[in-house]
């Protein structure tokens, strides 16, 4: 069904695109929320990306790559927005505390530390973490999606995980380093 809607949308069918947007909007929003850590900004990113998808869809040659292509547009929009925000001083928020976040075995303290660590990552490092751990893309798929070498994806993942791990470990040793983790 989604493939059919993509085909129709490619040919300028706005009704088909409305259906397609409704089908993919939640997924785009979910990824944007995880990268941007702000529900309002994530909504803006999803909205912008839907418009870009409509505008550029005729240039997509392989419909089977629609998902990866649309995520690429989204992460590019998120990257640009983060750079813009950093230019006007960082006002990124922690993940919205009102959002429905099921607490499985991850403690609230761990989640908070990971959020804090994540905030210190660049757009590129955030993106690879979300693409791999939320969307389950392989390093090869991320490499294709972002148009960077596989080695670059691996090094970004390595660095991002080191930062996140350090954030968790800082939480685990407040008595040793003077409570710096808070």
């Amino acid at each position: 069904m989604e493939r059919y809607l993509v085909q129709r949308s490619q040919r300028g069918d706005r009704h088909a695109f409305a259906e397609l947007a409704a089908a993919i909007g939640d997924r785009l929003y979910g990824v944007a929320h995880r990268i941007m850590r702000d529900p309002e900004v994530a909504g803006d990113m999803a909205q912008q990306t839907l418009v870009k998808i409509w505008r550029d869809l005729p240039t997509l040659r392989d419909i089977d790559r629609f998902d990866a292509w649309s995520y690429r547009l989204l992460v590019n929009a998120c990257r640009d927005e983060m750079r813009r925000q950093r230019g006007s001083r960082n006002h990124l928020q922690l993940v919205d505390q009102d959002s429905p976040i099921p607490d499985v075995s991850l403690s609230i303290a761990d989640r908070d530390q990971l959020d804090r660590g994540f905030r210190h990552l660049s757009p590129e490092h955030r993106t690879v973490i979300i693409l791999q751990y939320y969307l389950d893309y392989s390093t090869a798929e991320i490499s294709t999606m972002l148009d960077v070498p596989v080695g670059t994806v691996r090094s970004r993942l390595h660095y991002a995980k080191r930062v996140l791990r350090a954030a968790l470990e800082a939480d685990a040793r407040p008595a040793i380093d003077g409570g710096r983790s808070a």
Partner: protein, 267 residues
């Protein structure tokens, strides 16, 4: 404690915050925006890269064509002056010149209802335009067509699909017949449009109508595109080869009307 956990598992858990819904206001705003957002030309996209790559070859061919025409004109002039026999090339109903192509191919102001003009291109790149899925072999065959004088196409797209109005002028009827056969093969063959044999179109000196589903860029070197319903009129009037083709829901009657209009303008 944290060190002992499966860090990878922890990261997955952290990113898994459950299903989220895009608030309606963002979806509505996006759909409102696309009402005034024009899509990038659907028809032209697969060709842009190719045409860019062909620019150096096109320049060389353009120069070569001018030289060949100049030599031909000189020889013809010389032959007439010494009383040689006139050429036996059959004449079209009128002598068509390169300048006439602008009045035969649909103008940018003649977009069918529901469509907009995407692009108009002249010269050598027009020779490659009717190909679907271009290999090096295809481009060599298209770009080295004997007797090529001038080409032009205009393309349109919109809600009903996409439309191509195309013409190529050759020096002689024989050159145009060879060109017609080349494009017929492209339309019929699986590595081209895969539409099989056409039916008599009863248009021009000779011509055919083709209809069926085509896989965009089938047999080409780039990624294969979507499958689209395709209709093509391909015909010849003297040394002029013409085509009117559509993708999508552009109706057979509307395409026939475009072909007949182009045909009338060429007479």
């Amino acid at each position: 404690m944290t060190k002992q956990r499966d860090f990878e598992h922890l990261l997955r858990e952290w990113t898994d915050v459950g299903d989220e819904r895009l608030p309606d206001r963002y979806l509505r705003a996006a759909l409102h925006q696309i009402e005034s957002t024009r899509q990038r030309g659907a028809w032209s996209a697969p060709w842009e890269g190719l045409i860019m790559r062909l620019q150096p070859a096109a320049s060389i061919l353009a120069v070569a064509t001018v030289v060949i025409l100049a030599i031909g004109a000189y020889l013809a002039f010389s032959a007439n002056n010494i009383g040689g026999p006139p050429a036996l090339t059959p004449e079209p109903s009128r002598t068509i010149t390169a300048a006439d192509l602008a009045t035969i191919v649909l103008a940018d102001t003649e977009a069918p209802e529901g469509m907009r003009h995407d692009d108009t291109v002249n010269g050598v790149p027009a020779l490659i335009r009717p190909f679907n899925g271009v290999t090096d072999e295809d481009s060599a065959a298209a770009l080295t067509q004997a007797g090529f004088v001038e080409g032009r196409y205009a393309e349109f797209s919109g809600d009903p699909g996409a439309l191509l109005s195309w013409a190529a002028l050759f020096e002689t009827v024989e050159d145009a017949e060879r060109s017609l056969a080349l494009y017929e093969t492209e339309i019929e063959a699986d590595k081209g449009y895969g539409l099989g044999a056409g039916t008599d179109a009863d248009i021009g000196d000779e011509g055919a109508y083709f209809e069926g589903d085509s896989v965009l860029n089938a047999g080409g070197t780039g990624p294969v595109g979507p499958t689209v319903h395709t209709r093509v009129y391909l015909w010849r009037i003297g040394p002029l080869v013409l085509a009117a083709g559509s993708y999508g829901d552009f109706s057979a009657d509307d395409l026939r009307a475009v072909a007949e209009e182009m045909n009338a303008r060429a007479h």
